[in-house]
Symmetry: C3
Subunit: 348 residues, 3 copies
């Protein structure tokens, strides 16, 4: 046992497994075939699949363009009739991947810069209204005066300030019938592979009349807003009151080796603003203003608080990953011909 000659020396010993060589042609041929298969797999993986993997992970190119159609006539008891076209109810109007559709609103017309009572916050004396203080959740800057008639502080603001009760009914309930045309182009640049979710065999007339349905029209790119919401398990009219957020997921699982026409989009729909206790976070609203000048050149504005549904379109490319195949290769246990291979030693 020369290895006992010193720990340091033994460190320099070269340890290798001891092998058994079986001289049998059938087994040998099988063994070499197996090796060739493994080799082929590795080359295939490293040079072909891995390249595909990088493609997908770092350079999938996608472009989404949306266009809404539909008109709604609203009849506000105070402001009369108003006609909403896509140029009004889609924000922003420029066909983006994430867009917002107005379903309800509070309009405060003819606001002018001046002094008026706040609607939020109570005061009993001028001491409650420190001059120059910014009311974070309010509409203006306090002037230091408490107005008795309203019981609120006077503010320097766009007057009259917005009074926004909790909305009960969606004014644009007709938004349920609007449609959105989603154009999605994808490209795998290293393969110079293009694809669009608009069927290339589709006739112009098909696209003018079809509406997406997972069963009957799975490749029609035109979606009914009411359906989009109902497919997430929510009710459109209910969501329309205070707003919400819906995700439209487009998945492209394309095997680039296979036929071009097999690469088709899969749509799925989900509500994005779900919470277990949604009392606090529910709803989606924001404000914007339209500015005007009167004949004297004085500014005034109409303030809109709009409630509505935000649609996020998310596009995913193919996601198969080859790492698990390495594992399968590692799990090979070569359990043939067990007995011949083992020396049995009585350990203790």
């Amino acid at each position: 046992m020369a290895a006992r000659g010193g720990f340091f020396l033994s460190l320099l010993n070269y340890k290798t497994e001891k092998y058994v060589i079986a001289e049998n042609r059938k087994i040998g041929i099988l063994f070499r075939l197996y090796q060739l298969a493994v080799l082929g797999y590795i080359i295939g993986w490293v040079f072909v699949a891995k390249k595909g993997y990088q493609e997908k992970e770092e350079a999938i190119q996608t472009s989404v363009f949306t266009k809404l159609k539909g008109v709604a006539l609203t009849n506000d008891s105070n402001k009369g009739l108003h006609l909403w076209g896509a140029e009004d109810y889609v924000i922003p109007p420029n066909g983006e991947q994430v867009f917002f559709v107005v379903t309800n609103y509070i309009e405060t017309p003819n606001q002018r810069l001046g002094f008026c009572p706040e609607v939020n916050g109570r005061c009993t004396s001028d001491d409650d209204c420190e001059e120059g203080e910014t009311v974070i959740a309010g509409n203006g800057i306090k002037t230091g005066v408490c107005i008795n008639s309203t019981g609120t502080c006077e503010v320097h603001a766009w007057c009259p300030v917005e009074y926004s009760p909790r909305p009960q009914e969606p004014l644009l309930s007709a938004a349920e019938n609007f449609t959105v045309y989603i154009k999605n182009f994808i490209r795998f640049p290293n393969f110079n592979f293009f694809r669009s979710n608009v069927l290339e065999t589709a006739e112009a007339n098909y696209l003018k009349n079809c509406t997406y349905d997972s069963e009957t029209h799975p490749y029609c790119p035109i979606f009914h807003l009411g359906n989009l919401v109902s497919w997430t398990g929510s009710d459109f009219q209910e969501m329309a009151v205070k707003g919400g957020s819906v995700g439209i997921l487009i998945e492209w699982k394309c095997d680039l080796d296979k036929d071009y026409s097999l690469c088709n989009p899969q749509y799925s729909f989900t509500r994005l603003d779900i919470n277990i206790n949604n009392s606090v976070t529910s709803g989606y609203n924001f404000r914007y203003a339209k500015h005007f000048k009167d004949p004297k050149g004085e500014s005034f504005r109409t303030l809109y608080k709009v409630y509505g549904i935000r649609f996020d379109i998310m596009v995913n490319g193919q996601g198969a990953f080859a790492c698990d195949m390495i594992l399968l290769y590692m799990m090979n246990t070569s359990s043939f011909y067990r007995e011949r291979k083992f020396e049995i030693i009585n350990f203790k």
Copy 2:
């Protein structure tokens, strides 16, 4: 053969490979050096490269800011001269990563809410114009009357409704000469590594005059819109008529171990709305309105249908991946000193 003493007992046997130990210093030193290399590689991979991998995959931070320059004077036969600055032709104007440049438009001025004939859809009698029906592809809500002089339904709409013939010539053909300054900042947060596509050695004057060219000015961040389109293989004036979509890909392949100055962006350009049969999906347009009030406080608006080119800037970080290196390690076959290691057994 004690292993035959029972299947259950044999399950409790501990099986290990049988090793050969070679007492030879040269080989031993080589072997230990090899082990150290493997160990160093593993430590390097697990603690350094893997961290880098996570960085890249989940936490590359990037920020893109765009600014367009150029002015165009349009001479519309109906509406006279109009001057377009970046504040008008870039939508949205706030320097986003995805922006739209107007190249053509149809203006419908002085629309007021009222009743007028539709331009789409034919009718022969009032029965064709069901009251209250929403015309999805139309401009308003039917009143139930068919107007004989036009042969179309009367609608409640912003009147007169837009009449939009297929555009033939781009009104803003001068947009070809606009330039876009693209500022792209990237950051690998775990390494606290910053980088911008604006050359740090560049003098202020260089940036005032240069224009990107892959050969002569590969690091100039100012792009000529005409060039951007032509590098995708398309013609700007042709695309300008009905609009289109162009992708600008910025790739950062930075080896963070190497010199800071070697980490530079690579630009590539691609048309994103290509289809084999592009008759249906071609073009990019949307509508927006400017709202006004007359001296009496009545609302009116100017509706714009704008055609143009959308530019999507896509930023990719470095994508090398370490998994294949494990594979190489696994492929090591230790084929040295073959004869000594093997026992040859006549298998049957």
Copy 3:
């Protein structure tokens, strides 16, 4: 040594490791337990964790909605008092993931289309002002006339053209006290696992009063803009003069097997427009216009050049990756009972 019988024949030999079997129950049980652990790990990884990995890599769904609060009163020496609400200083106003807050501005009111002197570029004679030429960095189209009094070319433009000196003080310095409420919803669709950064146990009152602080209020989703900037190491008032870009990173490292309440967001903050030599690329500004019509129906506009801070909210999902675990498995060296396992051979 039958292997010498021919290279070709030897290729068909089947080579396997030679094993030692130790008949010892304690070791055997340990060994089988170890094997079960490895097997369980592999099954767990392939069927459970890998699924989780794909989830994270290709289908994490996220939705961000922002809402700013705060009012600022600006006192411009020329244009008098102006009140800025969120509907004015947030661009775009619709609660997007990337938003811009105005901190400074230059207003050019009452511009009308016409002819006036340029402010940029010098001329000494009409020859310096070639008619019809587009001044790329200018405001209009040259008419061919050099105006002596100003020493600049006459242009066809929105007049008077903007005169924009380098800003010195931020007009909206009060923007430091604005707050932003960030709602972030995430979803792992294959697990149907939802989560929001808004604490579900939080009372409505908590959200009305809290402000995020990494120590005292790590799960409050309301951020003070001044803090956001100071946490990146920058000074708000300094950045407010010419603008800048700030990244807000939200990281979700959720172990989906563990308790739902352990899956919480981690926030981090970074300045995105940092450069070593920032003389050229610093600042963030753009222009937009508000359009008006006078009683005669003639158009005029107010041009705003706004400086401000862009906030990019970036959401990352969990990033643990199982590949390194394979490595650990491979590193197992079975170094027990060394002596019994080795045959010592004197190699030369």
